[in-house]
């Protein structure tokens, strides 16, 4: 997922899709690269689960998979959560030992 998001072109594509579904040519519009190159980025995004696309007639429409994006935030949220648990324990410890000698070392 983060590999998918690491590339600036793919971030531009994600940004565009966060405003709503778009066709491949709409996605390619602001990017100065060939359609096959855009398709290649799209396939990385699809493999990562961030984006899915459907073909109707000759038009392929792409949209964001919001659940996948939430997962991307998850790991930083987890680091934060582990600190929160740590500070819960610190709070308990200080409440149980408010007057312990302030320094033994």
């Amino acid at each position: 997922m983060f590999q998918a998001l690491a590339d600036p072109t793919r971030r531009v594509m994600i940004e565009r899709l966060s405003r709503g579904p778009a066709s491949v040519s709409e996605l390619a519009g602001p990017l100065s690269m060939s359609l096959p190159a855009v398709m290649q980025h799209l396939s990385v995004l699809e493999t990562s689960g961030l984006v899915r696309s459907e073909k109707a007639g000759r038009v392929r429409t792409c949209r964001l998979e919001p659940a996948a994006l939430r997962a991307a935030e998850q790991w930083i949220a987890e680091r934060r959560a582990s600190w929160e648990r740590c500070f819960d324990r610190l709070g308990d410890y200080l409440a149980e030992h408010p007057d312990e000698p302030e320094s033994k070392e």
Binding site: F2, Q3, A71, R79, L90, Y93, L94, P98
Partner: protein, 155 residues
């Protein structure tokens, strides 16, 4: 080959404790006290050399899971007021993040407000799968808890 990526993030956590800044500072600065609340895994090892330029090493992890190594270097210490350190985290042999942490202690009435700020570079998305798993596990645990409570209420 690993595809390289970096995600930068900053987060801030604030807590209030009903003890003096000196008391909170001691909980961070003495090894014996820090072990009481910091490490949570059985069999973890911890060394603390609390002075500017000194290091702290924590090594441990869940039973049967990966070993996490947390290596800290203290950059700035103002007794009872501020601790600034850098640390990197490795999962087994892979470095997954490098961070700057600032702990600020502010006297507030008879207590202390602690402001914790972590500014980190999270590397190559290595935290991702496990974070996801863990997040999912929390959700599932809560679900089971809720269902059990409902079952009790119905019985």
């Amino acid at each position: 080959m690993t595809e390289r990526s970096v995600t930068h993030t900053t987060f801030v956590i604030e807590r209030f404790f009903q003890v003096s800044p000196a008391r909170v500072f001691a909980a961070w600065s003495t090894a014996e006290q820090k072990r009481k609340w910091f490490g949570c895994h059985e069999g973890a090892t911890h060394e603390l050399d609390f002075r500017v330029g000194g290091r702290e090493t924590y090594r441990g992890g869940p039973k049967g899971g990966p070993i996490y190594t947390n290596e800290t270097r203290f950059q700035d210490i103002v007794p009872n007021q501020r601790i600034v350190y850098t640390y990197d985290m490795q999962r087994d042999e892979t470095r997954i993040s490098v961070s700057v942490v600032t702990i600020e202690l502010k006297a507030e009435g008879k207590g202390t407000r602690l402001v914790f700020t972590e500014q980190g570079a999270f590397l190559d998305g290595h935290d991702a799968p496990e974070g996801r798993e863990h997040g999912t596990k929390i959700v599932l645990d809560k679900l089971v808890e809720g269902l059990e409570r409902e079952a009790h209420a119905a019985a």
